[in-house]
C-alpha cells in the first residue's frame, strides 16, 4: 500500500502557508464606543460615558488566559504613568463567574478599575473575538484602535497610540 500522505503533508503545508494571511492583530476600528455600565471591583457601578473627556483603554481579559495575565501589570503601569494627563485603563473581566478573577486580582493587584461583565453583554457589544482584546477610545467617546491578542513587547504600540490620543 503506497501512502500519498508524504505528498499530502508536503503540499498541504505549502497550501497553508499560502493561505495564511496575517490575522489582523491591529486594526483600526471606527465609530462611537458603545456605552455600558458594569459593577466594578470597588463595589460601585461604573459607566463608560462618565469617562467622556478622557482617553480610555478598555482591556478585555480572563483569569484563564495566560497572555491576559502577562499584560495586566503592563497596563497597570501604563495607567499610573498617564493618569494625570487624562487617561485611564478599564479592565473588563469577561468571565461568567468572577471568583477566579477576584482571586487573581488579590494576588496580582492592579492600579486601574476592573469591571465584571458576567453576562457577556459588553463583550458582545464590542465584538470581542480574541483574548485579550484592547480597545482605545478617544476623548470624544469614539473607538480609535483595536488590538487583538498580546505578546510581550506589544505595549510599545499602546504607549504610542495613547500618547497621540492624549495630545489631541
Amino acid at each position: 500500500m503506497r501512502i500519498d500522505c508524504k505528498r499530502i503533508v508536503k503540499y498541504g503545508l505549502a497550501a497553508l502557508l499560502l493561505a495564511l494571511g496575517t490575522a489582523a492583530v491591529a486594526a483600526t476600528a471606527t465609530g462611537p464606543a458603545p456605552d455600558f455600565a458594569l459593577k466594578s471591583d470597588s463595589g460601585s457601578n461604573l459607566r463608560l460615558s462618565e469617562l467622556r473627556g478622557e482617553v480610555v483603554l478598555i482591556n478585555f481579559w480572563a483569569s484563564w488566559c495566560g497572555p491576559c495575565r502577562q499584560e495586566m501589570p503592563v497596563l497597570s503601569e501604563l495607567h499610573e504613568q498617564y493618569r494625570d494627563m487624562g487617561f485611564t485603563v478599564l479592565g473588563v473581566n469577561v468571565e461568567e463567574n468572577s471568583t477566579d478573577a477576584r482571586k487573581l486580582l488579590k494576588s496580582m493587584p492592579v492600579s486601574f478599575p476592573v469591571l465584571f461583565d458576567n453576562d457577556s453583554t459588553v463583550s458582545r457589544q464590542y465584538d470581542v473575538v480574541a483574548m485579550p482584546s484592547t480597545v482605545l477610545v478617544d476623548r470624544d467617546g469614539n473607538v480609535r484602535y483595536l488590538h487583538r491578542g498580546y505578546n510581550p513587547g506589544e505595549e510599545a504600540d499602546y504607549v504610542e497610540k495613547v500618547r497621540s490620543l492624549i495630545r489631541e
Binding site: M1, I3, I8, V9
Partner: protein
Amino acid sequence: MAATRYSLTTLVLLSGMAGSQAGVLPEDRADAMYHSYDGGGVEISGPSLLVLKKVGQDVALNANYYVDSISSASIDVVTTASPYSEERTELSGGVDYLHGNSTLSLSYTSSDESDYEANTASMGVSMDMFGNMTTLSMGYSRGWDTVGVNGVAAFSEDTDRQNYRLGVSQVITKDLVLEVNYEGITDEGLLNNPYRQVRYVDAGDPRGYNYTDEQYPRTRTSSALAMRARHYLPWRAAVSGEYRFFTDTWGIDAHTFQLGYTHTFTGGWILDASLRHYRQGAADFYSDLLPFQDSQNFFGRDKELSTFTSNSLGVKLSYDFLKQGWQGIERGTLSLAWDSIWFDYDDFRDLRVVLPASQVGSEPLYSFNANVVQLYLSLYF
C-alpha cells in the same frame, strides 16, 4: 538484547507539548518520574526527567532524560535463551518557536542500549486558525537505527524510519473538543529482532519442532487514523473517547478504543480513570508453528505481530501541593498512576508448557497481565 523495538517516545512527548496551544508557548515546567513495568516475566523501571523552559518571548527549550532498566525473563527469553539484564538510555532535546498563531518545533532524540542505537530528528508545525477554534498540525520525523547483536561485534544492520503526521483539532462547543490525527510510517532495513526465532514442525526433533531465524520483509508501511473527543462536565470534570484504526503492509489491522474520565475534588485533587481495549489481527507472515522449514518467504513468531487483544484499566491520582506557590514555583503536583493490562493471544502459544511431540501446536495460548506504575512530581514555574 533489544527487548523491544525502539519506539518513538519522544515524538509523542514533543508532539504533545508543542501543539497544545499553537499560538501560546507551553508553561515552564520540570517533571521527575519514576516508572515501573512488571508483567510477563519482564521488569522495566527507571526515571524520566523533563525540563521545559521559555527563553525570551518566542522560544521554549525542552530536554528529556529517560532510562529503562530491563530485567527480562519473558516468554521468548525463557523458551529460547536465558534471562538477561540491560539498560536503555534515551536523551532528547528540542526547541519550540512561536510566531503569531503558529509554533514550529524541532527536536532530536538519541536512544542507546548495548545492541540497539536509535536516532530521530523531528519537526512539526502547529497553527491556530479560524478564531483559534481550529488547530492544524503537521509533522515529519526521520530515524536512523543501528541494530546489533550482543556478543557478535561484526553484526550491524541499519533501519531507517520516516513518520508523517497530520492532525486537526476543532472546538465544537464551549465544552467540546474534537481531534482527528493521521500518521503514516515507513520503515526500511532490518525490521525483526535478531535474537528471535520461529519454529517449524520437525519430526526429527524430540520436541516435535525446531527453531530457525526469523525472516521479515525489509520494508513496512503503516497508516493510523485516530479520532478523539473530550467533553467538559459541569461539576468540573471531563469525559473523553477515542478510536484509532491501524493498518499496514504486513497485513496487520488493529483497532484501539479508549474511554477516559477526569474528576476534580476540592483541595486540588484530580482523579483520572481510563479503559482501553485493543485488538489486532496477525501479520501475513506471522506463524506460531510453520508446517515445515522455509514454508513461506517471510516468517516471524513475534507475539507483537500475532492475533491478540489487550485490555487495560487505569487510574491516576494527582495532588496540587503547592497551590500558593513557593519561591519561583507557581504550582506543584504529585501524581501516582497505575495501569493494569491484560494481554490475550489467539495464535501465540505458551511454550513453557512442554507437550509430547505428537501434540506440537496444541500448547495453551499465551496470556499475561502487566502492571504499570508511574510516580511523578511536576513543578510549574
